[in-house]
């Protein structure tokens, strides 16, 4: 099943959160153009693994590379090539959806139209755009976060529990977008405990337990 260039290579990595090994000698890899699922119970280390790959947290032992860039020395370099959606919305409550999208577009140096067209793809358009993010529902906020991550059109997209708080419609939109990205040769990693949903779409499945990754 493995094909193409290796995008993520994590070997025997340990990540500490306040002294606790959230990842314990964890190994994991992702290849070009595949959708990878990571399942696992709460506290198994899914979030930490995705944060590690996104270059937002450091690690102790082992080796980790994304696009061949060493995460130990060049985390900021990695961040430029990775899209990430986590539990926090990463949005400003006191700005409208439009203002948030414009801000993100100018941070990322992408055309604003692109951010808005992705937002539309996730069902965020019209009157919703001029609403303050703080007044949106959790599901709507998730859609904005997803849209902004997709709009970066990175080669690697890391989605942490993207299904959480999305309705049926939203979940379907997410799946459509993920498949489209895969077909463009990009890699999508989804951590979720709603495993069955994306089962048919995924190329490989992993299970996490006690800070380690196992193949299914």
């Amino acid at each position: 099943m493995k094909h193409g260039r290796q995008v993520v290579k994590v070997e025997e990595v340990t990540v500490l959160l306040g002294g606790f090994p959230a990842l314990a000698r964890c190994s994991f890899d992702v290849y070009e153009g595949e959708i990878v699922l990571i399942a696992g119970s709460n506290g198994s280390g899914k979030t930490t693994l995705l944060k590690l790959c996104a270059g937002v947290c450091g690690f102790r032992d082992g080796a980790a590379k994304v696009f061949g860039i060493d995460l130990r020395h060049s985390r900021s370099e990695v961040r430029r090539h990775v899209g990430y959606v986590g539990h926090a919305s990463l949005l400003y409550n006191e700005l409208t959806v439009t203002e948030n999208l414009k801000f993100i577009a100018s941070c990322l140096d992408i055309p604003q139209d692109k951010a808005f067209s992705y937002a539309k793809e996730f069902g965020i358009s019209g009157a919703l755009l001029s609403q303050l993010v703080g007044t949106l529902s959790a599901g709507q906020r998730k859609r904005v976060s997803l849209a902004s991550a997709f709009s970066r059109e990175c080669e690697l997209l890391l989605l942490d529990e993207p299904h959480a708080s999305l309705d049926q419609d939203g979940k379907e939109l997410l799946e459509i977008a993920s498949v489209r990205f895969k077909e463009l040769g990009k890699s999508v990693v989804v951590a979720s405990h709603e495993f069955e949903r994306m089962l048919i779409l995924s190329d490989r499945r992993y299970r996490m337990d006690s800070g380690q990754v196992f193949s299914e």
Binding site: G18, P21, S210
Partner: protein, 237 residues
Amino acid sequence: MARKSWIALVGAFALVTVGVTYIMGLWITPPDVFQGNLVRLIYVHPAVAWVAYLAYGVTSLASLAYLWKKTRNYKWDLLAASSAEVGVVFTALTLITGSIWGRPTWGVWWTWDARLTTTALLLVLYLGYLALRRVSEDREQRAKRSAVAALIAFIDVPIVHQSVVWWKTLHQSATVFNADLNPKIHGEMAWTLLLGFLSFTVVYVWMVIKRYDIARTQFKLEDQTVERAIKERVGTI
């Protein structure tokens, strides 16, 4: 010789030199014409103040060494922390001995003299540094942030000093280090003074080594705890 005996030797040397300074300062040297026995504080007070500055200098250099990527190593961070802690103790001692000296000489425990004010600010500056070290849990984050804070303090000290000196000299003449009060230093007094500097510097070296060893042991202990936690986590599968 083993590392441990070296440290013991430094400790013993510190003890002996402090002991000799004590005897010289209290019994051998004569009292001053103006200040009487009070002058004996001169064998302690300036030496203690010197050590405080030395300690912060070491903290700054070690912090710089940590921030510089080529020399980045946790050892520098631990050294910076150890030296700052000893520095705070010596800054407090400087203020206390200064106060004890000031009360009979100037009639007050405290005066807003340039040196006193600078020293007091120095104390809170590095108390802040030590407090900052306690708030982050992540090793790397703590090391980086406290190194930056140490550099801020390092740049700040001369500016603080300059502003405080101007503050006093532009409005009233300096009264504390009045020439009339300055003791005439000669003979055994000079030697004792020099010995005081030497002995307290050795005390500083010994204290920093000790504190650094504790910090390193703690560091290793954390590593062992983590290793055990990893084994436990891996073992549960």
